[in-house]
Amino acid sequence: MVRVEFLGPIQKEALELDISNLNELAKILQADAEVSDWLESCAVALNDTLVTSLEAPLKDGDKISLLPPVCGG
């Protein structure tokens, strides 16, 4: 299982999903009304490293984080 966490202002509980790549995750989240509007502005991290490709393979125990727009300071 892969854990998907929604950070900051995204009001959504973490998901545990049986998926093998980020393309599958994209399809699931695009169909989820709670989160679909956030996707355009969210960065994605795999095991706390930002990723830039949907092709990264996922394995059991991986953690994916969705990071909405930031404003520190």
Partner: protein, 145 residues
């Protein structure tokens, strides 16, 4: 060095501590930036969420860049609520000569604003409201859209 605190920063203590830590390190310049919560938009204060694992790796990458120039960065940030006229952010650069520190503090704070995984909320009328309009999408966002 990256330090996170619950609530407002104790600015005099942090600046003094950093000064004393590097007093004999032979740096010629110590340039701090202090961010203070201003009265605007009718807010009573700000509130912050911080995602520490990625903040730490982002900061570590900047510390490596600083080291390549003989400099060192220190940063402190608040978690949770910070009220008007209190401070939520301090960044400082130590370097042998002033020019490196002056340029580095500018680059560092700009990238901090654009990339550090911290989310800001306005405290207003008893509510905690995400400061969406003042936030910046991290480079590479939209991968799953």
């Amino acid at each position: 060095m990256l330090s996170l605190f619950d609530g407002a920063l104790d600015v005099p203590t942090i600046l003094k501590t950093w000064y004393e830590e590097e007093a004999t390190s032979n740096y010629g310049a110590y340039i701090p930036f202090v961010g203070t919560v201003r009265s605007e938009y009718g807010i009573e204060g700000l509130s912050f969420d911080v995602y520490e694992p990625i903040l730490e790796s982002w900061f570590a990458s900047w510390q490596i860049k600083a080291k390549e120039k003989g400099a060192k960065i220190k940063m402190a940030h608040s978690k949770g609520d910070v009220m008007l006229h209190e401070s939520s952010y301090i960044a400082a650069v130590f370097s042998p000569k002033r020019r490196v520190a002056l340029e580095f503090i500018d680059e560092f704070v700009e990238d901090f604003k654009a990339s550090a995984p911290i989310w800001k909320y306005d405290l207003k009328d008893g509510q905690r409201i995400y400061a969406k309009d003042r936030s910046t999408a991290i480079s590479g966002s939209g991968l799953l859209a």
